[in-house]
Assembly symmetry: D2
Amino acid sequence: MTVKDVPIGSKEVIVAAGPCAIESEEQLMTAAKAVKEYGGKLLRGGAFKPRTSPYAFQGLGIEGLKLLKKAGEAFGLVTVTEVVDQHDLDAVAEHADILQIGARNMQNYPLLIAVGKSKKPVVLKRGSSATIDEWLLAAEYILAQGNNNVILCERGVHPLDRNHTRYTLDLSSVPVVKTLSHLPVIVDPSHACGNWRYVSAMSKAAVAAGADGLIMEIHPCPSEALCDGAQALNLDLYAKLMGELRAIAVAVGRSLA
Amino acid sequence: MTVKDVPIGSKEVIVAAGPCAIESEEQLMTAAKAVKEYGGKLLRGGAFKPRTSPYAFQGLGIEGLKLLKKAGEAFGLVTVTEVVDQHDLDAVAEHADILQIGARNMQNYPLLIAVGKSKKPVVLKRGSSATIDEWLLAAEYILAQGNNNVILCERGVHPLDRNHTRYTLDLSSVPVVKTLSHLPVIVDPSHACGNWRYVSAMSKAAVAAGADGLIMEIHPCPSEALCDGAQALNLDLYAKLMGELRAIAVAVGRSLA
Amino acid sequence: MTVKDVPIGSKEVIVAAGPCAIESEEQLMTAAKAVKEYGGKLLRGGAFKPRTSPYAFQGLGIEGLKLLKKAGEAFGLVTVTEVVDQHDLDAVAEHADILQIGARNMQNYPLLIAVGKSKKPVVLKRGSSATIDEWLLAAEYILAQGNNNVILCERGVHPLDRNHTRYTLDLSSVPVVKTLSHLPVIVDPSHACGNWRYVSAMSKAAVAAGADGLIMEIHPCPSEALCDGAQALNLDLYAKLMGELRAIAVAVGRSLA
Amino acid sequence: MTVKDVPIGSKEVIVAAGPCAIESEEQLMTAAKAVKEYGGKLLRGGAFKPRTSPYAFQGLGIEGLKLLKKAGEAFGLVTVTEVVDQHDLDAVAEHADILQIGARNMQNYPLLIAVGKSKKPVVLKRGSSATIDEWLLAAEYILAQGNNNVILCERGVHPLDRNHTRYTLDLSSVPVVKTLSHLPVIVDPSHACGNWRYVSAMSKAAVAAGADGLIMEIHPCPSEALCDGAQALNLDLYAKLMGELRAIAVAVGRSLA
């Protein structure tokens, strides 16, 4: 699949990076500039944020989508953002290049069907307790609508304990999916780890395991993030990691821009 | 809370029973008659069925809702059925007395908010990997809209293995919730067990643990069920179980009609 | 099976109670007196304590065994205590009526074989991540030595989260085991809950689910316990619970002394 | 730590390979020759096999130990083998260079203490439901006896489902342990995957994540293996993998012989 000249699921490993939540134009532009500079091809950023508590920051909504579109155009980046509600689908599809279905919505079938009908490329995250077969069947809800542009995303499963990580990144799902499906599979190390200290190691491991790409959270100032700052890499760490990932990609016979 | 004269969360333990999916008028009427005859106060039955595979039977839809309403009225039973899609909410709310949010949708926040706005009583099932705190915060999405008629429902969490049961019924959530929340909590032994052989034992255990009620699957002919027949009690077993539950209810200082 | 006139796995539900660790003669005698007074038939108490940290209290050892024997004889109670090390087996077997294999040692095969050769009755706890099939195969290690006096004990499996309970008590293992094996099965609500507030509810649920007995922790003064005080019932709560359990036992067609 | 000139926990990534169970001299010698030829420094092979069923092949025992010693000397390989029973410890310590504590015995404290007293280097596998803190405290049982030669080994934790893998390899434990402990940490991809198809991907991921080494199962003829043949690489795949691992090691600034 190719989205605006960016091949996904090819020999090239692609990286999507950006803030968990879009907070302001300055924040997003600063992040987007870094994404581009160090070789990221996709810009991620949440405008509609599903939050465990109804009293937590829920995202900037449409305003966030406009900022995402602006930043994507300014830096020539493909944009990806989560759609949480069918009612927002048209707006999200109009502003972003790739839709994302979050882990909580992996079995929200009306949403999957709506996304299927939209024909837009879509990142389908694995539910936190979904078996691989359940995940592939969720993808079928999209595929059955004639939308073949599905990108699977491993983001960690329910953990043994939450003392050190939020979820357990199940990297074995990468080679398993490669034996079961033609769909590309990428990895989100940020949500799985929940702690920036472990994100670089797990990103490298994901590429070594054969992932077609990564989607990770970076922030110009993680300590001031409105959402999930603890798991965001700052821009220096992101730059350093991209160099390391390039070496791993080459070591496994692939490339990274 | 009282729904059509049926108190929920009171000294009386209430039982909702009925088929997993509404399949035909005959099937539903036969089940409803048995529900009533042996002391059930609520009739359950799925019209919109969320299914892991898009190629499985998805329910009768509006036609099923009409049958549910008819059966409820015919036998004087309060009806409960799942709402899967915001777009169906008005229709479901019009035909049923109590809405149900399934485990897959526990964190489908737009749906929770819509149900909250509807002010209808709602059964909120625990997600299969949701912690108790995540479950209570999902309830807050409904409560925060001014809908106080939330009934929590334990239905099993991700199992250690699936050789003998589909999920692990976490009955300790009943006393835990009783120390954390004023909301009534009922138990669904059918989906947790996935096998009718274990449903009676777990129903009795739920009442002994302090549950305010049960929601269980029964079918006039489980072997011909279109959905989840393996976990449905036949009508004889249901009748026998109701007698046993009555004895347990009395033993814990409660009653069962 | 009958141990000193106490039938196990019969119509009568049996209760083993006592402190997690034997701490002193006064503590044990006080507990044993209460066990007897309110209908318990077995006295439990740990002399050799397997502890997660090597720097935690490890039990009184042989001195504890002597106290256990003394208390059992003083009050006419059958005694049960854990054996952790093959080297202690003779001493434990000499002082106690029933051996216990803890959850950590469920797959300690040399210990299982040694216990099998001893021919003493043995409580085999389910490992915290053991499937039911693995548990039954562990029992086979004992049975294969010609020791048929195996009592299975459900004590909770790895939990979804540890915010409210230490483990998830999998009561469905009770009816599952009853369809797979002739062995009696008892339940330990104390270690599963890890919090005395939930022990009564889960004890009642266990009996309602069909358990042949309970093994629970009680302490004359839980706040001063050297081990696991948070999950111990005080003697008043134990007395109250025994009355409630008797009613449940009758409700399921059994009895409790 | 250095065992017979092989540094463990240094810049060099070390690989231990060999059959799950030692079956015959020919089998072991053939495997050992391959281990050596393609850059492995350690030869693994089980003589005492802990098996879930008492009726499964339990290993060659002392005869196996002798073969292991012979093969190690013949090819200049450091040997590692599991000790299951304290009674076998002297024999195992006499024949092998490094002891292994299996996942089932991670909390077999008498065995840990005995191994601690032996002062032999020891690989301590993580229990299949052990938290990282429980694993590190198990290591303390060995360290507290004055034996500092502990090598931690991640081998997978209880899986979400067993349809595709036996366990979930928790590679995040590698960077987590690196922030908590000075001990070297290696990874066993074979037991976690339970399927040779996924072993290469996960081995590469482990090295990319920062593991100090790997311990993997290879067999001259996996389809005829007496134990766990499904997860063993054949010698050709092993040879190919070693070349790939070398490239990954270099990419992360390390080396592999």
